[in-house]
Symmetry: C2
Subunit: 448 residues, 2 copies
Amino acid sequence: MIDQLVTTNVQQLIAEKQWMTLRELVADWPAPEIADLLNELGKVERVVFFRILPRKRANEVFVYLSLDEQNQLLKDLTDEETRQLLADLSPDDRTMLLEELPGRVSQRLLNLLSPEDLTEARQLLGYPEDSVGRLMTPNYVAVQRDWTLAAALTHIRTRARESETINVIYVVDKDWRLLDALELRRFIFGEPDATVASIMDDTFIAISAFADQEEAVRMMQRYDLDVLPVVDSDNVLVGIITADDVLDVAQEEATEDFHRTAAVAPLNVSYSDIGVPQLYRKRIGWLLALVFMNIFSGAAIAAFEETIAAAVALVFFLPLLIDSSGNAGSQSATLMVRALAVGDVRVGDWGKLLGRELAVATLLGVSMSIAVAVVGIFRAGPEVAMVVSLTMMLVVLAGSLIGMSLPFIFSKLKLDPATASAPLITSLADISGVLIYFSLATWLLGVG
Amino acid sequence: MIDQLVTTNVQQLIAEKQWMTLRELVADWPAPEIADLLNELGKVERVVFFRILPRKRANEVFVYLSLDEQNQLLKDLTDEETRQLLADLSPDDRTMLLEELPGRVSQRLLNLLSPEDLTEARQLLGYPEDSVGRLMTPNYVAVQRDWTLAAALTHIRTRARESETINVIYVVDKDWRLLDALELRRFIFGEPDATVASIMDDTFIAISAFADQEEAVRMMQRYDLDVLPVVDSDNVLVGIITADDVLDVAQEEATEDFHRTAAVAPLNVSYSDIGVPQLYRKRIGWLLALVFMNIFSGAAIAAFEETIAAAVALVFFLPLLIDSSGNAGSQSATLMVRALAVGDVRVGDWGKLLGRELAVATLLGVSMSIAVAVVGIFRAGPEVAMVVSLTMMLVVLAGSLIGMSLPFIFSKLKLDPATASAPLITSLADISGVLIYFSLATWLLGVG
């Protein structure tokens, strides 16, 4: 039995949310004592207390609980009241206090829950948003390596109804660590008396529950798989994800990137369902930010007011030049954003791709210079045409370089590479375009 | 036996590529006679002749051939020499002459081929580019409804190795028409003596081989399926498509839409593999087109040269106003392009969505008017601020309406809704922005 005083002390620390003190207090206690203490606590206290235990310790404590106590704890873990309490923790505290649950606890917890409760449970298990852990289901069939195929098939039969797939059967050890992934046909067409070990090939592809969901998309595409086993950091099998779930993710990620590229915050709801106030909120942020961004283009123009006043005809070519720069930049940025998203290009590849981008941008710049020179000669004579043509060459180069670099810069800043890329590039292209154009004009035409 | 003269006549018509005459000639011939004639012809002639037969007739003729002759014909169908001849037909002739092959012929043909030959065979079968027919594989297991489960399992066992999935087993009738799609577990866990008919539920979801691949993406997402059976226009099962294939399609379609939105022609190859000349070609087309488009903005500005000369300070706000219009328009267009692509919105929904877009655009316009009015007062006094503020309101509305409408207009014109949407909208926003801004300025400030 645990000292009543100790229990009271622990309860007080929980009430005062003195998490760190509590954690230090129990750091050296033996697991059986913590297990006893857990049973003395009320429902909410018990969950909080269990949740702040270090991972290894939590596993030991869990083993010391009776089966009934284990189930009760797991049910309490997902109870609304305790969930709320845990959710109220600040994100920093959460990361510091709440570790990943031990693999065995996760597996038991996930199997215990109704599908409706799964969404919240995945959150409680500590897997970050957009991680594979948030997407997986516990509805798979696992067998042990020393079973006979007949015994395995009997087990598969009992689990078949609630399993997402029985195309693939997983082999785990006593601690539920993943050993192999075998196709059902091997069990059906093998000798019933043979052991599972005899049909194992020891080759399988698994994904970490902490991996980004986009990584799962890439793995399924690369290896042409319809289902992937998900393991935690101890290589314990905690779930599976299927291609149809991953398909949803791929579509959602693409949609978010599309919206981000055009400076719309991710909607989190289908376009046809969203209301006017939400749609306004998703769009206004970047639009306002870009207004202030564009004041710089205005300021650049204001700096050349005299040049403009002296040669108003120059303004004719302004939209054409800055838009061309922005268009070339958007092309480069979009190519890069998508190549990064599908894993075709990595964040470290910027230098490697720079040469090719320069070559393409030069070709584009030359072609467009020629096109605009023809327009320039007819419209404003050879002198202005030369300025416009030279400007076009330079702004297409500048736009392309800004466009290809921005997604990499965003990645380095831990932002999504797609973030507002198209309008930002348009604004940056405007500023650089105005400066290049009127500087050249002032210099070459001797105006201003 | 067929008359030697008839054979010579047919051979001559083939040599002269008189396809229509040939087709009319044999229209009324009985199937056994055509079968005999086929055997008289050389390899290339035989294939061409078979390929131009009307669908129903081709099926009858095929049945009259011996098994050897059938296999020979099918192999010849995919032979390089005959493939080339058929490929050389003009697209119009192809559509007119080459009908869909009968379901039984398709199934046999696909099963006969190596995976490498499948790509070309799908083309020969007459399924259009980007159709489900081009994506399917013939590697599935089909059983008959009057078989026992034991017999079905024996068949499944023999076909298991080369099947893409055995999670789902298909039930077909004697003509290979699809009757049901059943999960393998039903076969394993049913009574061995029971018939397949006894475990059928007569509910299944299938997709036409002629459907667009994007439709398959939507169906798999909506019904959470990992595999879809593919049927031809006679409801004959011709193949299956799996979620991992569809995942590739979804990613490719999204990539193409991304590129199109930024005015890059679809690459058809991964970004990291493309060379400088191809990349140049994919980008220059729209860039040049947009240069000429932007001449209109220049012309609009030129029309207001006097206004500008009289109040050069107005130019300060020009990039800000036209970019804001373009940004709002790009947001609207991107939201719509993606909603159309994932099937969230249909082409007929324009009118229904117009009201919401107007409401959101008005809110955005008011917010941005206020923001720009503040800048305007400090920079250029209350009069110019009023003009700028009012212009902002109008150009955000105009940009949003153009942006939301353009994808629908492209759809009506049978173009991809994503086509160059962002830069086109920027250009259109420029033109309308310049006209609105300087018209208001001329009118309200009395300049020009």
